[in-house]
Amino acid sequence: MTLEADTLNSTLDSVRVGIVTFPGSLDDRDAARAVRLAGGTAVPLWHGDHDLQSVDAVVVPGGFSYGDYLRAGAISRFAPLMEQITAAASGGENALPVLGICNGFQVLTEAHLLPGSMIKNNHLHFLCQDQRLRVENADTAWTASYAAGDEIVVPLKNQDGQFVADERTLDELEGEGRVVFRYVGGNPNGSRRDIAGISNAAGNVVGLMPHPEHAVEAGFGPDSSAVGQVGVRGGTDGLGIFTSVLKKLVK
């Protein structure tokens, strides 16, 4: 390893990424592992606290935050910690980077950090599969490691993954380049305009339904990758999401 790489690694290590745990969070430990594998330091955050512990970025992971019997994310947005996150994420370009994955995306829409909403998949089933996505916007805090137009394969797994918004909002998202990820090779759930992920206007808040944190470690990811043939469960296309935010924060 070169001296330069060493320095970069130790600098990345100093970036603290908070992982929020709600009572029904499921992919929180996976998100923490993804942050570690990308070189950063994962900091567990408890939904009931009022303390962001001076983290540099936040991941709201997947799961069923409060059971989601009412509507996915509807109760979590009122969690004490969400007040802090919403405030810190709303300060413009240099505001706190926040990533919502799956249920975390649903929570961010409920908290009005992102527009639109998720309803039940159009086929009404839970669906778990390797999903190909196109990175439409590589300028956000969470996608800078990619180039616009890059394709990635990450696992998709949800029951309420159909992204919906009114036409004006959809036009606005498209017009402002805020569609960050789009489904490629077939729309798996009926999401409007094949949208898999979006950002806020400043680009610090991103939400997506598929799970990049499950495509970060060779041997435990999807069976395929957009970059070519990989070993068994060897897909690691999702790692770039986590390196993006670390590099941005180091700069």
Binding site: D30, G48, F64, C128, Q159, G219, F220
Partner: protein, 770 residues
């Protein structure tokens, strides 16, 4: 936060409570023992034990705890063989054996794994979604009770005919129930089985297996020790659901004339269970519980009597302190309720505050019910009045034991003589059509439509999942230490010969685990049968247990726990005997696991083992509507050698793919290995036919055991051949991986483009259910 109430609620007094004193005063009161599922001799025995008539609450307790489901009264005398036939060598890795909530196996480096398979058949037929969901919930709580973090689940499922009008109701309900519950718990679903057979039409089999991981020092047992320690009930509130689930639903046959038993099915809340998992793990970490027991079948009756009889022998409980969803429940109903997501623990007074703090953190409700005593009595009071006064052993352990009569079915000889003499395709065109038909058939088709409704990624440790031979999860992120698990059963084999059928089920699960490269260590079983009151069914059961216990001894893997499910029949027709066998194996490093499909062009494909003319009970015979003859021979010595070869080949990096041959024979194995990564192969079977003295059809469709196909890199071929030769195991190079032609080319016979094969393979389930 709700705490226990010092004063009983007003509702508590509105019942005309049947106290112990009242029972003594009114010895001749008629009791509904028959409606609660007790037989007359069993009721008489309760009276004899107590020296008086039981109170209504005591009757409720005895009736559920002495049910077939809870007491194993018909199966006990046979199950003893699992203990009797275990050698010291087999116990080497066993930390906790049969009798606890689940067995615990040492996998090295201070890590242990607990696993168990259970049935939830009857509830899933009555109410498919909730029945299947709570089946997952129940087995997961067994795993938590051992002190482990649950890390994976599997679901062996058996439905009626795929085209029967009632099958979609069951498939949709059961699959979404398993998914809805398991996905919400954050447990990867890594495997299982899906079988369609009209014999399961009125009685589908929904078995659920869960695996948990713990450090050796974290093992928890279900006992109430330490006089003065407090007994606490926590989790969901107690409601009216599942009353009589164990006694009425699980322990009787269905009958079209009787009313629907839906109120006896429990209703699940996966969010409550997820929170319960996390809060229990925190309790274990903080060492604030002395003993813990989940509430499943027979609810509080089971938890109090088992905890008390396994500990210091006594317990005192105030039942009005139980938190209720429905205040109108009677004491008997509260004792019998099978409401889900509840746990009972024993806590020292010094730890009570720490316990409460953890409950509060997770917003889990709890109530202190009483304390451990050394009186040898389980005393339950209702607002201070004694309604239960029993020796807990008599409830939990001294239930009736039956030596049920059994005899070999009179029809078996004729059945075993009726060997398959149907259609045997001979030319290339009909063989090709036969392979396509097989791979599109209900039992051999792709199960993706089902397994894609389950999360296989969560926790980030899944190294293999369906459709590979076994599910593999990593346990230790540092070392890569991990486990493989497979469940298998073949009801048709067991119907033809239950002794051999059980051995074959174990052989296949054992082979599947070894095929991925893991060393098999331990066994769990779920024995699904018809009514034990039918002597022919009882014979099938006895033969199955004998066969499984013998086979475990021969393979050197002990049964660590499991479940017996009887009365699986509608009217007078029992299901095929279906012993679902789960085998757990261990890897030093899951990075070396072998997938079921090949990928690298030019690798050599070998067939290990001998192929005989064994089509009786096969999928092909099944497709031709034939069931007769003898199942394939189970040669466990051969299985051991094959397993050793597969494990060594994985460890030494000699093979890149391995797939076992079972249902559907070589035709299915080659098709699945090619479809796994969409990479074709050129196969020659003529040399095989010559060596084994069989025709091409037999080569492709026979279900001879002890076989696997593997792909070997050219550089490893010499080493691989030497190893097989040294172990004197039949091995034959039958082809090469061909990444260019996109087809399964059985040279000289037929070519099947993979696209065509895949379309046929994947269309069946969506055509019927999507």
């Amino acid at each position: 936060m709700t705490l226990n109430s010092s004063a009983a609620p007003a509702e508590a007094r509105k019942f005309n409570i049947d106290t112990v004193a009242h029972a003594l005063e009114t010895p001749d009161v008629e009791l509904p023992w028959a409606a609660l599922g007790l037989k007359e001799n069993e009721f008489d025995r309760v009276v004899e034990i107590l020296g008086r008539r039981p109170t209504a609450a005591e009757l409720a307790m005895y009736s559920v705890m002495w049910s077939e489901h809870c007491s194993y009264k018909s199966s006990k005398v046979h199950l003893a063989q699992f203990g009797d036939k275990v050698t010291d060598a087999m116990k080497e890795h066993l930390l906790v054996g049969i009798g606890e909530n689940a067995g615990v196996v040492d996998i090295g480096d201070g890590w242990a794994v607990t696993f168990k398979v259970e049935s939830h058949n009857h509830p899933s037929f009555v109410e498919p979604y909730q029945g299947a969901a709570t089946g997952v919930g129940g087995i997961v709580r067994d795993i938590i009770s051992m002190g482990a973090r649950p890390v994976a689940i599997m679901d062996p499922l058996r439905f009626g005919a795929i085209d029967h009008p009632d099958t979609p109701r069951l498939v949709h309900g059961i699959v979404s129930g398993i998914g809805g519950y398991g996905n919400s718990l954050g447990l990867p679903n890594i495997g299982g089985e899906v079988v369609f057979d009209s014999v399961y039409q009125g009685n589908p089999l929904v078995n659920a297996l869960a695996v948990g991981v713990l450090r050796h020092e974290d093992i928890r047992l279900a006992n109430a020790s330490g006089v003065g320690n407090k007994v606490v009930l926590f989790g969901a509130r107690t409601g009216g659901d599942g009353i009589g689930g164990a006694s009425v639903l699980a322990s009787e046959s269905f009958d079209a004339d009787k009313p629907s038993k839906r109120p006896a099915v429990q209703v699940g809340d996966p969010f409550a269970e997820k929170v319960l998992i996390e809060c229990c793990l925190e309790l274990f970490k903080a060492s604030v519980v002395e003993g813990i027991q989940d509430l499943g079948a027979a609810g509080i009756s089971c938890a109090t009597s088992e905890l008390a009889s396994n500990g210091d022998g006594g317990m005192h409980v105030e039942l009005t302190d139980v938190l209720l969803r429905d205040p109108s429940l009677t004491p008997g109903e509260i004792l019998m309720s099978e409401s889900q997501e509840r746990m009972m623990a024993v806590v020292t007074p010094a730890n009570a505050a720490a316990f409460e703090a953890i409950m509060d953190k997770w917003n889990v409700e709890y109530s202190w019910l009483g304390e451990v005593t050394d009186t040898g009595r389980l005393i339950i009071e209702w607002d201070g009045e004694k309604i239960v006064d029993v020796d807990p052993r008599t409830v939990a352990h001294d239930g009736p034991v039956y030596h049920r009569p059994f005899h070999r079915p009179t029809w078996l000889d004729a059945l075993q003589q009726n060997t398959f003499d149907g259609d045997r395709p001979a030319d290339g065109g009909t063989l090709r059509a036969a392979v396509l038909e097989l791979m599109a058939s209900p039992n051999m088709c792709s199960k993706d439509w089902i397994t894609n409704q389950y999360d296989r990624f969560v926790q980030g440790n899944t190294a293999l999942a369906m459709p590979d031979d076994a599910g593999v999860v990593r346990v230790d992120e540092e070392s890569g230490l991990g486990v493989a698990i497979s469940t298998d059963a073949n009801g048709r084999y067991s119907y033809l010969n239950p002794y051999e059928g059980a051995r074959l089920a174990l052989a296949e699960a054992y082979r599947n685990v070894a095929t991925t490269g893991a060393k098999p260590l331990a066994v769990t079983d779920c024995l699904n049968f018809g009514s034990p009151e039918d002597p022919e069914v009882m014979w099938q059961f006895a033969e199955t247990v004998r066969g499984l216990a013998d086979a475990c001894q021969e393979l050197g893997v002990p049964v660590t726990g499991g479940n017996v499910s009887l009365y699986n029949q509608t009217g007078g027709v029992p299901i095929h005997p279906t012993p679902v066998v789960g085998v757990l194996g261990v890897f030093d490093d899951v990075a070396r696991r072998t997938p079921s499909g090949w990928r690298d062009d030019g690798q050599a494909i070998y067939l290990l083992g001998t192929t005989r003319d064994e089509l009786d009970g096969s999928e092909w015979a099944n497709l031709r509507g034939h069931l007769g003859g003898q199942p394939p021979v189970a040669d466990l010595t051969a299985e051991k050698t094959l397993a050793a070869i597969l494990i060594n080949a994985s460890r030494d990096g000699m093979i890149d793919a391995a797939h076992d041959l079972s249902e559907g024979g070589l035709a299915a194995a080659l098709s699945e290995a090619a479809l796994r990564f969409g990479v074709g192969a050129r196969i020659g079977i003529d040399e095989l036919c010559e060596r084994d003295g069989i025709d091409p059809f037999t080569a492709l469709f026979s279900e001879s055991q002890g076989r696997a196909v593997v792909s070997v890199a050219r550089s490893e071929e010499v080493r691989f051949n030497d190893m097989c030769t040294a172990r004197n195991y039949p091995h034959l190079r039958i082809g090469v991986v061909d990444a260019e032609n996109g087809a399964l080319d059985v040279q000289g016979h037929f070519t099947l483009p993979l696209d065509e094969l895949r379309t046929a393979h994947e269309a069946t389930l969506p055509n019927h259910f999507a």
